[in-house]
Symmetry: C2
Subunit: 365 residues, 2 copies
């Protein structure tokens, strides 16, 4: 009998199991290495009585309570900030490690902010028993930028995002589909100021501050100092923390586009030394979690609808600035519900129990 | 009798009168100050026999020939590069000033590249008898950037575009409407890699190298050195020429988005001296041709579908970098068929004949 067969397999709680990211997480759990014993779906009282599919079986959703974390090794959270702020510490107090995908803990000095391909070494020290998962926009680019930083030394970066509706959750998805159903059959809309807004009506805006169909909306999140959006500050502050570069210059403009799922980002990054397009491409081709598609003359570059539902960070349009040999421009796409949320969270959870197994093994050997 | 009433009013030829931009041009001519005597619509042999509306009347389209420019004071061109390259010099040889909106002459040292609000002084010297009109993406930002440059001294800039389908002409408009009709009623598309591409079919791509509905496409134009697109080099080289800054560092990523008309651009610009958001806003509020909409907490920022069909360059999201006091970020929108093409061309044409009237007056006085 091996040690693995002898040991209890760990228990995973999925908090927010009925949401857009929770649904993707449960679907991914059926496909990934089966490291978990029990998988316990958890949601708010609103989802009481519902069942969800867990590895092919219907499982009743448990309502969030302190007791729901008893016997749980890792609890992954995809719920609003205030719910995480309340319940992740409860899970930790009951002995689980909480892996949280809200913004509640990301900038807490006592909470590591982890992207396994970039800073898995940060997982070990977790004084609050909480690990934070980065924002989906940061995650759509940081694996590739981490690889380039290790090779060339990142000094500053500009990022302009092309963010999908599902970044605003199921309400964002539903709203964009509703708006497209309204504008899809009308061949005149989008040619006169305000006609799309009038066609969908004020109640048709959903979670967005302006129409998204036939439009782009230069706003995501809430207002921060100096006219910046919270989303733009997340890209800056989280990139700094993940890369371990507290003074990194990051300037971002975050824009919502009429795409269902998969965020894209145009990045222009400056490095400590000159970097040719070929050098950058070679590093990205060898980087775990990165897929390179970069032959524009053959129509090959990543686009959101061509890569949605996949795991890697897709990179194309890799090119050196003609004006500054230290600058590389790139176009990146990442599924915001997978690597941008569910996948990164599950990768962290799996590393945590792999670590526990390792610790247990070294303790008993 | 005043001098104006005594003089022959000038003749304008509109070459490409049946195209997307030509159509907007004729519609704008019905609204603008009526400085023209004859307005002569001209197109290729493909449009022989067609009529177009000119100031409320049906006028027969004349087929492109040397004789069509006889008696013409100003000939505005919106036709493919190769057609302009052939015919603009013919118009000039026949005594017309050619104002060309193709890429054929923009970087010619003997051809001024003019945005009236920025460098109208360049109109006077035109050794080839040709004036070039900038690319629509450059025009969606350069009026505002010109004003900021005059005030603060532009040193470098990063631009990421959100370009409308109509930048690819009527075929672009038709393609996006067709694609939206296909995806508009289907609530599952956009969630699986390649499903949009499959739904619209290879023949449904139209002028774009990837699906545009439910997607963004990081490519416009043709391949240039080092993996850059011709559109990105246009933004760089035309900005340099218009602003008179031959060494300006400009780094652009040009991306097509599923919007019918109006290009948007996220710009992060660095100036010779520190610039606060308030200082930048004050300059833009006083700049001709610029409209400021900038109160994100009230949902006020420019979006393409809210400003399409209008003349100004719309600017919002004006903010100073928290990491570099010399850097200002902005989000700009400009109707690519109006200021981005038809309007700027007509403004140049009107300045040319105002200049001619002035010259004639000073000669006879």
């Amino acid at each position: 009998m091996t040690g693995n067969e002898a040991g209890r397999r760990p228990t995973l709680a999925v908090v927010g199991a009925t949401g857009a990211v929770g649904t993707v997480m449960l679907s991914m759990l059926a496909e990934r290495p089966d490291v978990w014993g029990e998988i316990r779906p958890v949601a708010s009282a609103r989802s009481a009585g519902r069942t969800v599919r867990v590895r092919g079986a219907d499982v009743a959703v448990q309502v969030l309570s302190p007791e729901v974390f008893d016997g749980v090794d890792v609890a992954v959270f995809d719920v609003p900030d205030d719910v995480s702020a309340q319940w992740a510490p409860v899970a930790a107090a009951r002995g689980a490690v909480a892996v949280d995908n809200s913004g509640a803990f990301r900038m807490d000095d006592d909470v590591p902010l982890v992207v396994p391909e970039v800073n898995a070494d940060q997982l070990a020290a977790r004084p609050r028993g909480i690990i934070a998962n980065p924002n989906c926009t940061t995650l759509s680019m940081i694996v590739a930028l981490g690889a380039l930083h290790r090779a060339f030394g990142l000094e500053s970066m500009f990022a302009a995002s092309y963010q999908a509706a599902s970044g605003a959750g199921q309400a964002g998805i539903d709203t964009l589909y509703d708006q497209l159903a309204t504008v899809g059959g009308t061949r005149e809309l989008g040619q006169t100021a305000g006609d799309v807004r009038k066609a969908i009506g004020e109640e048709g805006l959903g979670p967005f501050p302006a129409p998204l169909a036939l439009n782009v909306v230069p706003w995501a999140g809430s207002l921060r100092d100096g006219g910046w959006s919270s989303e733009e500050f997340k890209v800056r502050n989280e990139s700094r923390k993940i890369l371990g570069l507290p003074d990194l210059r990051v300037s971002a403009t975050c824009v919502r586009v009429p795409v269902i799922t998969t965020h894209a980002v145009a990045v222009h990054a400056r490095f400590a030394r000159p970097v040719t397009g070929e050098e950058a491409r070679a590093v990205l081709l060898g980087a775990p979690g990165v897929a390179v598609v970069d032959d524009p003359s053959a129509g090959e570059f990543p686009t959101p609808s061509d890569v949605v539902g996949t795991d890697p960070t897709w990179v194309g349009r890799i090119r050196q600035s003609p004006d500054d040999p230290h600058e590389i421009a790139l176009f990146l796409c990442g599924d915001n519900l997978r690597k941008g949320a569910a996948l990164n969270t599950l990768q962290i959870a799996e590393l945590l129990v792999a670590g526990q197994a390792g610790q247990a093994a070294s303790t008993t050997s």
